[in-house]
């Protein structure tokens, strides 16, 4: 039995420590995925909140057969999509952007320099801004593939699209990111 499955079974048995471990293990990666989708840290935190509360409440009847990371990220991405569909699509502007908190390992050697940290934050903000300008369908595939390391086959299955569609959306998404990021460089 894999580590993931054992951890999930403990959660299913109502073990609060297991829930805490599950949360600690995935929270930063999931927050990153949610922020990529929603482009707003506060909304991303709400999304994470909804997913974990739902998961805890329904844990006993959810069988996770694949890896937890893929499952949890799919939950976050789908929840984020619902949230975006209720609102306007692609309504993101620079003013909306909540500057993300500093990357982890702030205390690690070589990353304590404030100037470097700021540059890192700016880099992250640029990337998030560009991601926010992609159509939601492209963003989903980019996040699931790059942030959750899911294959196109896995993405196709969970998102109920064909593998070709997943690949096309991904390819167009990355192409558009290239364009957006190079425009940013030029306009600087």
């Amino acid at each position: 039995m894999t580590e993931d499955r054992r951890l999930w079974q403990s959660v299913q048995n109502g073990n609060p420590d297991a829930l805490r471990r599950l949360y600690q293990q995935f929270k930063d990666q999931l927050l990153t995925a949610a922020t990529m989708m929603l482009h707003d840290v506060a909304a991303a935190e709400d999304c994470l909140h909804d997913v974990f509360v739902t998961l805890a409440a329904e844990a006993h009847r959810i069988q996770i057969r694949r890896n937890l990371k893929a499952y949890l990220t799919t939950c976050v991405v789908n929840r984020a999509r619902d949230y975006l569909r209720k609102k306007e699509r692609r309504n993101v502007s620079l003013e909306d952007l909540t500057v993300p908190p500093a990357g982890r390992d702030d205390t690690a050697a070589g990353r304590t320099d404030p100037a470097e940290l700021l540059a890192q934050k700016e880099e992250a903000a640029k990337l998030l801004l560009a991601l926010g300008q992609l159509p939601v369908e492209q963003r989903e595939v980019v996040v699931l593939h790059l942030n959750a390391d899911m294959t196109f086959k896995e993405i196709a299955k969970t998102q109920e699209i064909s593998i070709n569609t997943a690949q096309s959306r991904y390819r167009y998404g990355v192409d558009k990111l290239r364009k957006l990021l190079s425009e940013q460089e030029v306009s600087k």
Binding site: N13, E45, A56, P135, V142, N164, L177
Partner: protein, 317 residues
């Protein structure tokens, strides 16, 4: 300029951190939601997210389709083939094969037909390759025309009519497609491949073709997405001389609940095939053609809007 690989790596490396306050809030609420061991047997409604993952309608569909195929094949081997009876009248004006060309087959309001009647000839379409042959049983939608057996009967257009849409500019309610570009709609490629369609946002959307000249239009043929048997909702075809369509003529509308806001449509839903959907435009005069859709149904899922090709057969002044 960054390479695609650099961007992919930057996204992989991107890491944000939750704040302590967030951790506290989520963990407190999640723990409160965690059922105690005693509640664990209670049956609760299933979460929608998980349902999306475990329920695979294609398995059910393909089993049903296989069963249907077996039955149909059995019936065919027993008796002579009869033509399929169409009980639902189609808006398309079809002409029987043996109709002589000196008979004007289309009855139109007087103001719609051109002054001089040119000779009528059969409209020849270059069809893309078909990629599916059966209809899954899931497509028993209300007010839907049955899938036609055999090819479409000839449709007559005046001599000299040609596809005026080829290479013409296309605009859309969603100017930034998800897959492909809008020009794919009039590029002449209508094959059911990944590189031949444009995918735009879900929900009610339209695309618009500018013929660049006010022309007489006789037939509009739509290939939305024919890589699999799908049914598009709220298909409407309108023409106008005004790019904003403030004054427009509706040629086809199967939006039965008026979700497009163009009025309740009386036309039937149809299954996409390689033959495309032919709309009789009856010689109407217009410069702009607008095509509407509101996603397609495939199994249980409502999908985005795709347009592979649109042909507008007519005569320029």
């Amino acid at each position: 300029m960054k390479t695609a690989e650099q961007i992919e790596q930057a996204i992989r490396d991107l890491e944000l951190q939750t704040s302590a306050a967030t951790d506290e809030r989520i963990l407190t609420d999640a723990k409160a939601a965690l059922p105690s061991a005693a509640d664990a047997g209670e049956i609760r409604p299933s979460p929608v997210l998980w349902k999306r993952i475990v329920k695979n309608p294609w398995f059910v569909l393909s089993t049903a389709a296989a069963a249907l195929f077996a039955i149909v094949a059995g019936i065919h081997s027993l008796g002579p083939e009869k033509p399929l009876e169409t009980t639902t009248p189609s808006k398309d004006t079809f002409v029987k094969k043996d109709t002589k060309t000196d008979v004007i087959p289309i009855t139109t309001p007087g103001d719609l037909i051109p002054q001089i009647e040119p000779a009528m000839i059969e409209l020849k379409l270059e069809l893309p390759k078909p990629v599916f042959i059966t209809t899954p049983m899931a497509f028993r939608l209300e007010r839907m025309e049955p899938l036609r057996r055999g090819s479409r009967p000839p449709f007559l257009v005046p001599e000299g009519a040609r596809n005026l849409a080829l290479g013409k500019p296309v605009s859309s309610s969603d100017p930034e497609p998800i897959i492909g570009s809008l020009k794919l709609v009039t590029d002449g490629n209508k094959e059911a491949t990944e590189s031949s369609y444009v995918e735009i946002s879900p929900g009610a959307q339209w695309i618009q073709i500018d013929l660049e000249k006010t022309s007489n239009i006789y037939a509009i043929v739509l290939w939305y997405y024919h890589a699999m048997p799908v049914v598009y909702f709220d298909v409407a075809v309108r023409v106008s001389n005004d790019p904003d369509f403030t004054d427009a003529t509706t040629l086809f509308n199967n939006d039965h609940d008026n979700s497009l806001g163009l009025g309740v449509g009386q036309d039937l839903l149809y299954i996409e095939t390689h033959e495309g959907k032919l709309i009789d435009a009856q010689g109407v005069t217009a410069r702009y053609v607008r095509l509407y859709s509101n996603g397609y149904i495939r199994g249980n899922a409502i999908e985005v809007n795709r347009y592979t090709e649109v042909e507008v057969h007519g005569i320029e002044p």
